[in-house]
């Protein structure tokens, strides 16, 4: 038969709380949900396609109806050196991808050497190479 003293002593003992142990080793590892992988891959691909389409639409102005090349293509074919920035600018402003590529392809033919200078090809042509 428990006495009031027992009850009091039990209450005292219950004030001591067992120390909380470390978490379970398996619980600390995040769960791997295998069924999510195909879903995540599909979402990533869709995102990339959507981003590419958005960029293309954003950079593509209204197609000109005239038969002449627009000014942007003219700029490309000028004597300025072709840089990545210029190519990017051209692609952004060209009426179509094909037009931009045309401009890039024919630029080298129209590049002119400034007066008083000569091209590297000409200089090499003057070299008297001994066999």
């Amino acid at each position: 038969m428990p006495t009031p003293d027992d009850d009091q002593f039990e209450t005292y003992l219950r004030q001591f709380r067992p120390v909380v142990p470390d978490p379970l080793p398996v619980a600390s590892r995040p769960p791997v949900r295998l069924w999510l992988w195909p879903l995540a891959a599909t979402a990533a691909v869709a995102l990339v396609i959507a981003a590419a389409l958005a960029m293309r639409l954003h950079h593509k102005p209204a197609r000109s109806t005239g038969g002449q090349r627009p000014a942007a293509v003219e700029q490309l074919t000028s004597a300025q050196p072709l840089t990545l920035r210029r190519a990017d600018d051209l692609l952004a402003h060209a009426p179509s991808f094909e037009a931009a590529m045309d401009g890039l392809a024919f630029q080298s033919e129209q590049t002119q050497v400034p007066p008083g200078s000569e091209s590297a090809l000409e200089t090499l042509g003057k070299e008297n190479l001994q066999p």
């Binding site: 428990p2 003293d5 027992d6 002593f9 039990e10 003992l13 219950r14 004030q15 001591f16 709380r17 067992p18 120390v19 909380v20 142990p21 470390d22 379970l24 080793p25 398996v26 619980a27 769960p31």
Partner: protein, 168 residues
């Protein structure tokens, strides 16, 4: 078999709910808190691999029984007389009274293993004598009887330590 997410979260919930009590119970049997924690982890890892508690009606009693079996099957524990580790705290004492915590552990060490089991299960495991009887494979009367003797012994040992301090 991989456990379903529901079973896994149930087991993790049981660990959060009873983990501290189970480790204390295992500590009372092994004498070492770190070994006790390892054993409780082993029990839960096996249960997680298996996927559930099976058909256990009383999950808490089942967990205490599993931990007890794991401890008793451990050769290193069986091979030696259990002396309680005096270095590691088992309890968070009220009012950060760590001297009282050490005193309680010392008194626990003065109990026989049978008595220690019953005290831990009843006071900190919050189990009835019927549940304790299930875990230990004894009758509920025997569990209650052991508990009364254990409580009296615990009080004697603890007060014997406290008296000189109270007089000082």
């Amino acid at each position: 078999m991989r456990p379903a997410d529901g079973d896994k979260s149930t087991l993790e919930g049981l660990y959060r709910q009873h983990g501290a009590q189970l480790v204390l119970f295992a500590s009372a049997l092994t004498g070492e808190r770190s070994r006790a924690q390892d054993m409780v982890h082993q029990v839960f890892v096996k249960l997680l691999e298996r996927g559930s508690l099976g058909h256990a009606e009383d999950a808490k009693a089942y967990l205490f029984t599993s931990v007890r079996n794991a401890v008793l099957n451990d050769a290193k524990v069986r091979a030696r007389h259990v002396a309680l580790d005096s270095e590691t705290a088992w309890f968070d004492p009220p009012d950060r009274d760590y001297a009282a915590e050490r005193n309680l552990r010392r008194a626990m060490g003065a109990l026989s293993e049978d008595q220690r089991e019953v005290v831990v299960l009843h006071i900190w495991g919050e189990m009835t004598f019927f549940q304790i009887a299930q875990v230990l494979g004894i009758s509920a009367n025997t569990a209650a009887s052991r508990y009364r003797y254990a409580l009296a012994r615990l009080r004697d040992v603890m007060s014997a330590r406290e008296e000189p301090c109270a007089n000082a």
